[in-house]
Subunit: 554 residues, 2 copies
């Protein structure tokens, strides 16, 4: 039995219990406090980040000897970090060489190493938070939570699922078939786990760790070597992760090339060559639908897990807490400048208005109240900067500018200055009033802080538009506000059929864009927003195979 | 709780226990005896089969009103049965209309119905045995066992896996997140199973029920409507299955169109149109690699489970029971005229010979002894007919004739008359001596009673050839004979890396081509012989999705 496995066994067991009950649980403290992480951790994390700027990021892995990197902080400065470059052939050869011994190790040895990697990543959450903040543009608090402990929880969840699934196959069995009065037929059978890999994890620019860890740990735990290909704009958080993983693997006597960094730059992308290499058996991808489509065409015969994007909707039929609803939605539209794959885009409201605890509200009342709540939420510059963070990609700012020119703008976007970062790329949300007839406008993805409040003939039409769009274009979340149980039931039926998880009447401190490890299944895989779910059994079961040997029993 | 579920719960629980332990277990008696099935069952089954010949096979399902069918018994007569015809649009519309209520039923209601269908199929095993015999060409004993109880066991196994997997997701959860000194955040969450379907099961001509039931029951249990598209040469066994399923579903108040027959004829095939219909979400296919390749190209975005074919090998290095080895191999080569996807094709023997309990045997000794064992096994015509059965496809007989013209024939094929069926299409095996240099010859699939005994430089070369061929062309089984533990270890390593289950030193009443439900994983999915395994979790986990609703707790 592995020492690391024993050491982290209680965490694993708690994770398994939480995944089974889907009740609240978290392994890693989400508050960036000195009490949990040590009083010096915050400063040390910031210092460690600063010390990496402008330097080579050393990783003792096979490569070409060249160094490259082109990350720019959305807060307005180049990171200046370069990463060791390698050819696809070098990476694949190193991964294949490392894989056999890892695959033959015990399940406990592999899972124990994964748990230790997660533990060490947790201790470095402040350093990772700085790296996430200055690649994705997230505000620090979110970069810490989502990029640190919440991402680690998702990695732990995947590790736990992988462990449970592998342990369902016994290592050996005696098979004894009765033969009437004669001796039974007796066979001894040994069952071994065979990795499917080499695995490839393709990182996303907005949530490199949160979306990258599930595939990384699920593949690694099941015996695969993993090549991590970060988005060229968000390399550092995954580079740190690879470094920690390699350290632990090496200490445990394994080949550190079980986890390799494939850091490319936009001018010389590696992804397509990696995906189509015959040695790659598993591909995890988080990102936009265009490349997801390319993968579906080109990753044939490989195990492909896609977390994509979609158009998320809110259906408003009525509420017993009008102010709470508007505040809740304002936060969901503002958080990380709408750059979450779970953020709502289209809010459907009947044109004849809705009933609320404040009496009947017309469509215009509702639309203006939501826009007003966004404005109020972001009135204080310091709070606004913390919630909004910065905008990861210039293309998103361009989209905001495009939306701001549409007719029906209820709330115009403006920059949201961040103290200490004068050149940060920022924007408050743009909120646009639209009509159900404008489907061509709002039934496309407007990624970023862009929302449409859409007037419909009825809530029935709202649901039909929302669910229909989800089925055709994909959706990751949906929300409904209603006081009539029949309307809620209709919403549940419509969104269930479209494969979209539904949040009802959120008015307090929970938001439609939040997805909790061990409890919320993130992306159903049941509409075009993705084919994989974080985390269900299907996410891990295809990453390994079982091979048996049988022989007559002695 | 469903009455049928309660009724069959003990069977389900025993199945789950067996699948977990991988020890011997079977739900359905494999011996076609009056004691198990009733003294009149055999005659009634034969009579029921005869009564269907030349008739329309009534199924009260939507269709075009036309009838067609072109089955010919490999034993030499046309069945003359016609089946109701339907367009793809009619089938899909009926399946989609049936699916919603089925998906909303309880897991127990769905699984209970599946268990009852299996139970009723079991009671009709003699009728199904006749149908299997006269479509596949299997001898009666095998048609009964493999087409009846063993197929039902595989269907039960898939149902049990589906049940276990669905039950891992709780129906509801209370999520309660502490907020320091404040009230915790509380959400109630409901989780629902969402079918992936409509599901399509594409049947094979040689084992229509054994290979068809896993996909059929896995998809049906997880909430999908299923369209069963039999091979046009082996419709009747699956038509009977569909009829039984529809009866049970209708009795339970469900729409019988949850299970539909898509019986086409070679002149007007439906398969490609079915596969590419957007409503089809799951495809199960058993059959040759050419169509498997078409599926990989054209079933994009669908859940595809392929049980294909490969080139199975035997590596002979030595034995402590020379006679037992030769007899065991002779049976494996002869059973159902080599038309099992698990039958060996290439037997590798070092050209310098092997050590045995009968002393050193030269390559020629070994090759001639195996050929001689086949000859002896099939010397008695009645026994030969029972073991060999008939040849399903004329193309297989043509292949035997081609092999018989090769240099190095050790045992020439001959017809194997079946009493009462003068026009049966039959052949004993052809055994050909070859050399490792002839890879172009033996590294192609010679489906049917065709085997090569290949002289190699060493057992190391034998293993390299066998494993290399498995990696490139696929393999479903492998066997090794050796007394040296180091040789067995080398064989285990080589075949494990190639994803092929290995049987060692089989000399008694167990054969390399036998695969037992609940214990043997059939097809690993780890080489080109298929991407799916009967049955592991990956075979069921992708057939459904989980969709949640969450709301603030009251």
């Amino acid at each position: 039995m592995s020492r690391l496995f024993e050491q982290h066994k209680a965490t694993l067991e708690a994770a398994l219990a939480a995944a089974a009950s889907r009740a609240y649980w978290s392994a890693y403290p989400e508050v960036p406090s000195g009490k949990s992480y040590g009083e010096t951790a915050k400063d040390e994390g910031a210092a460690a980040f600063k010390a990496m700027l402008g330097q080579r990021f050393a990783l003792d892995q096979p490569g070409s000897g060249a160094w490259a990197g082109a990350e720019e902080s959305p807060y307005g400065f180049p990171l200046g970090i370069t990463y060791p470059q390698a050819t696809v052939a070098q990476l694949v050869a190193a991964a294949e060489a490392a894989q056999a011994a890892w695959a033959s190790a015990s399940i406990e040895a592999r899972v124990g190493a994964c748990l230790e990697i997660l533990h060490r990543l947790n201790r470095r959450s402040f350093e990772i938070a700085n790296a996430v903040m200055h690649t994705t543009g997230q505000g620090f608090a979110m970069a810490f939570q989502a990029g640190g402990p919440h991402a680690q929880d998702r990695g732990l969840e995947a590790t736990a699922y992988a462990y449970a699934e592998m342990k369902r196959v016994p290592a050996r069995a005696r098979w004894e078939k009765p033969q009437g009065k004669g001796d039974p037929l007796r066979l001894d059978k040994d069952f071994a786990i065979l990795p499917r890999g080499v695995a490839l994890v393709i990182g996303v620019s907005t949530f490199p760790t949160w979306n990258g860890y599930p595939g990384l740990f699920a593949s690694l735990a099941t015996g695969n070597a993993v090549i991590v290909k970060p988005h060229p704009g968000a390399v550092l958080p995954l580079a740190l992760t690879v470094r920690v993983a390699r350290e632990v693997l090496k200490e445990q006597g394994f080949d550190p090339n079980l986890v390799l960094l494939a850091a490319d730059v936009p001018a010389a992308p590696l992804t397509k060559e990696l995906v189509t290499h015959p040695a790659i058996g598993i591909v995890d991808y988080t990102g936009g639908p265009a490349f997801a489509g390319w993968l579906a065409e080109n990753a044939r015969g490989k195990q492909l897990y896609v977390e994509g994007a979609g158009i998320n909707t809110v259906v408003i039929d009525g509420t017993a807490d009008f102010k709470g609803m508007c505040q809740n939605l304002a936060f969901s539209l503002s958080l990380y400048s709408g750059q979450m794959c779970t953020a709502p885009q289209n809010l459907f409201v009947p044109r004849q208005g809705i009933e609320t605890d404040e009496g009947r509200k017309s469509f215009d009342d509702v639309a203006r109240a939501i826009a007003g709540a966004v404005e109020k939420l972001l009135a204080d510059p310091e709070r606004a900067a913390g919630i909004l963070g910065a905008v990861q990609s210039p293309a998103t700012l361009a989209r905001v500018a495009e939306a701001a020119k549409l007719p029906g703008v209820l709330l115009a976007p403006r920059p949201a200055p961040v103290a200490g970062f004068e050149r940060a790329r920022t924007s408050t949300p743009v909120v646009v009033a639209a009509d159900a007839r404008d489907a061509a406008l709002f039934e496309r993805e407007w990624f970023g802080p862009i929302a449409f409040v859409v007037a419909t003939d009825s809530t029935a039409q709202s649901l039909a538009l929302a669910a229909g769009c989800a089925r055709r274009m994909g959706a990751i979340t949906a929300a409904a506000y209603a006081t009539d149980p029949a309307v809620l039931a209709a919403a549940e039926t419509a969104f269930r059929a479209a494969g979209v998880p539904l949040s009802e009447n959120l008015t307090g401190g929970i938001y439609v864009n939040q997805s909790a490890a061990f409890s919320d299944f993130h992306v159903t895989g049941a509409n075009p927003a993705g084919n994989a779910c974080l985390t269900d059994t299907a996410f891990v079961a295809g990453r390994f195979r079982v091979v048996a040997v049988r022989r007559p029993a002695a």
